[in-house]
């Protein structure tokens, strides 16, 4: 029969454990929230992180030492747990992206705490009499599975969250109906975000324009953005619409009924998700179908898939733009010239010719610009204002962004991940008047069976333009080697194990007058801030 003092010890251990678990849940919750409460991405981040949690090792050590000095160990662990909780940075206040204690976050944390407590109490009860130190053993398990506990809590709350989401959606629909902004929908296999940013930049000089930063393109994301940012003064609203499956754009169009639409390109990206190009054309075509009878449809005629949507559409005002298309275009892109300060080009419309310059680089981006220009002018923007506006565009960070550093031109294109983007970067660097050209890249990925062949071709194309290529990491090394062998210049390919190694090599090698492309390398989303320990004041 346990004595009073042993009950006291059990209570203290339970309280200390609960206190620390509460803190740890908060620490992980920050990342679950950052990942939009998506399990896969969250778990990919947490990986085996819970096994490096000092609380996990504290419990293991405690459980191991427990048989020798049960009371002393329990008391020591209680104190250590409280100290660990105190030593953890508060994710609500520290770090660059803080944890926002929304009601959803509170709900997830509370449910997760209940689950963690149930596991702990259950395990400890089962282990009594079976093993020494049942509470500490239970703690070991709980700290190891905390990320999964959060996932479980989130799963339990799913039906409720879905209910709330529907309420939010209804609210957003009402808001759009009340405020009646002129909605412009943008879809396409690529170029959506860039077109949206350019169009919003031009339109803002014509009327207050709402467009989400980044690439919010889901029902949930757009709903949230409307609720947070749409205000009575807004004249235009530019909505990026992602097609994840047949019907997803149609649903988005119910939320934000478009008066105008821009289709940037329809290609065979996400082919496996849709099954056929026809299915993709149908999915993207939902945007054109949602337009009112007098609606405006602007289409990139260079993309055969997009052109098919235009051809299938009846009774709307259709404008075509492009560069290489043989169609009778409303806006034709011509005379594209790249320099280190940006791109000069000509836009030929039915009535006029506009000479333009922009600080942005890359043929796909300039083509997006032509689309945005066409749409903006069609909804009433003065072409002279549009031409002036595109001179003040700023490159999106890491999307063909030129940074000059002591005479070296760095072309940062880390966010690019497709082969079209890769080629666009090569084209830009080929046109620049520089001494030597370098490229550092891990190649392109997620191409399934074609990955080797695509990277091999890209390597050959890189060899034709660049003096030296650095292939980073193992993923596409063989493909690059083969490509360079095809080109007969293996000696101009350098293989490096990591991004850091690539930078070391480049820093030692490049000189004034050189240009370097940093292609397709996703920088860490996460800051190196402490999860378990407070970091020492920087500086």
């Amino acid at each position: 029969m346990p004595t009073f003092s042993s009950w006291l010890l059990i209570a203290a251990a339970a309280a200390a454990h609960g206190y620390l678990v509460w803190h740890r849940l908060l620490a992980y919750l920050r990342y679950l929230q950052q990942e939009g409460y998506e399990h896969i991405r969250f778990l990919r981040w947490t990986h085996a992180r819970s096994l490096s949690d000092p609380a996990f090792w504290l419990s293991i050590t405690g459980a191991w030492l427990y048989p020798r000095w049960p009371t002393a160990v329990t008391m020591g662990v209680v104190v250590a747990m409280v100290l660990l909780a105190r030593a953890q940075p508060d994710p609500r206040r520290s770090g660059k992206i803080t944890l926002k204690m929304t009601w959803r976050a509170r709900r997830v944390q509370a449910i997760a705490f209940l689950i963690a407590t149930a596991i702990w109490v259950g395990l400890a009860t089962v282990l009594v009499g079976v093993a020494a130190g049942p509470m500490l053993l239970a703690s070991v398990i709980v700290y190891a599975v905390i990320p999964f506990v959060l996932v479980a809590a989130n799963t339990c709350l799913r039906p409720y969250e879905r209910h709330i989401q529907r309420q939010y959606e209804a609210e957003a629909v009402r808001r759009v109906a009340d405020l009646q902004p002129f909605v412009i929908g943008i879809t396409g296999s690529y170029g959506k975000s860039s077109s949206k940013a350019i169009l919003a930049h031009i339109l803002q000089f014509h009327g207050p324009t709402l467009a989400a930063a980044g690439s919010i393109n889901t029902l949930m994301g757009v709903t949230r953005h409307i609720r947070e940012a749409l205000v009575p003064g807004h004249v235009f609203m530019v909505v990026e619409m992602g097609a994840f499956q047949t019907g997803s754009i149609a649903r988005l169009c119910q939320l934000t009924p478009p008066s105008a639409a821009l289709i940037t390109a329809v290609g065979d990206m996400h082919l496996e998700r849709f099954g056929s190009l026809d299915a993709i054309v149908r999915a993207k075509g939902e945007l054109a179908a949602a337009l009112p009878p007098d609606g405006l449809l602007v289409v990139n005629a260079d993309s055969p898939g997009a052109l098919r949507i235009a051809q299938n559409t009846r009774g709307r005002r259709i404008l075509l733009y492009g560069e290489t298309s043989t169609e009778d275009l409303d806006t034709r892109l011509e005379q594209v010239e790249f320099s280190t300060t940006g791109t000069a080009f000509v836009l030929r419309t039915r009535n006029d010719v506009y000479r333009c310059t922009t600080p942005l680089l890359g043929r796909p981006i300039v083509l997006n610009l032509a689309g945005a220009f066409t749409l903006a002018c069609a909804v009433g923007v003065d072409p002279a204002v549009a031409v002036a506006a595109i001179t003040t565009l700023r490159p999106v960070s890491n999307r063909l962004e030129v940074v000059k550093e002591s005479g070296v031109t760095w072309i940062r294109d880390a966010y690019n991940s497709n082969q079209a983007g890769f080629r666009a970067a090569l084209e830009v660097v080929a046109a620049l008047p520089v001494a030597r050209r370098f490229i550092a890249t891990p190649g392109v990925i997620e191409l399934g069976a074609e990955q080797f062949a695509v990277n091999r071709t890209l390597a050959r194309e890189a060899a034709a333009v660049c003096d030296t290529a650095l292939v980073v990491a193992d993923t596409n090394r063989e493909a690059f080697l083969t490509g360079y062998r095809d080109a007969g210049c293996e000696d101009r390919l350098v293989s490096v194990p990591s991004r850091a190694a690539a930078f070391r090599w480049l820093r030692e090698t490049v000189r004034e007058g050189d240009a370097v492309i940093l292609e397709n390398d996703l920088p860490d989303l996460y800051e190196p801030a402490g999860v378990f320990w407070k970091t020492v004041s920087r500086g």
Partner: protein, 395 residues
Amino acid sequence: MSPVKRTVAVLFGGRSLEHDVSVVSGLQILHAIDPGAYSPMPVYIDHDGRWWIGDELWHEACFKGGGPDRSGLTEVNLSTGFGRSDLMSVDERPRLVAHRRHVDVFVPVLHGTFGEDGCIQGLLELSGCAYVGCGVTASALGMNKRLTKVLAAQAGVPVLPGVSCARSVLDRDRGWLERLSQEVDDAFGWPVIVKPCNLGSSAGVSVATSSEELASGVMKVFEYDLEALIEPFIRHRVEVNVAVAGLEDPVASVTEMPVTLQESPLTFGEKYKRQGRKSVGSTAGMAGALRVLDPQDLPADMRADAQRYAISVFSTLGCEGISRIDFLIDADKNDLYFNEINTLPGSMAFYLWSAAPHYWTITELLSRLILRAERMQAIRHGLRRRPTADLSLLG
């Protein structure tokens, strides 16, 4: 028994493009306040406009990266009760006793929007706090380059001609770009300098040699401001700055010539980065190699004119504290023009007081300004604000 030291709160950071400059300036001022006479206290305003206090804020290092770690700081609000001048904790966690810090004098070291334009001064005024520097009217006027020019010209100070273009032209008819270009042509011709009318820094400033570049420059301004100001660009220009301190009578400092590139306007990056990172609290770093104090190659009468005009602008606008008045010299014609006034100059332009006739250290100067702020506040407090019997309608 020694008297209780009065708390002097230095406000820095803020919701403006010049947030970082303000942090550097603010820390310099904070470290320069006489700790023997006052109890200085940092108050950091972050990018979202939230106010924070805490000891960590004394160190420049904590502002590196993503800004100071909020977990060691306390968020505060200025109490709205008139004349209280208390910073109240707005901590979400329940506390038995509300955290409250009384502040005797505020020293706003906030540059640009919301800090130099009368906004923060309005808040301090509403709360009845004593504060260093210009009041609401002078701050707001000083921020508007077009209005300052009008007032300076009225006071007989030479100014460059200018054409202004409000963002509302975008809502009106087409063809305004051509008309603006024509107006510039008629008024002074090319090249021109295009700048935001209401911004303290050099952000959004560009030079245009053609109507296309003018259009681009005006668009750039409209991303920052509701009004663009277009002036002739002086090719061979020399900048001359003078600081004025509003003590019993306004006093002008010596002139300085910041060394800049002659061909291009001072851009934001140039303006602040070229000076190099200054060590906090050191007075030597500021008077670095990139400026010439009391330039002897400048004709004495021009220096005297600059000082005279500076006081004139300072008085016309009704400034307080320390303002820096910037002039331009057209080197081809030897003409001096008033360019702009900074009612809250970087580092309070204290380096300008290190040469004859005023050898004031920053500490000395701050003590004088604090005394002046307290005196001004006492005067304002003494003004009649309650309805007198004849104005009372409610009995």
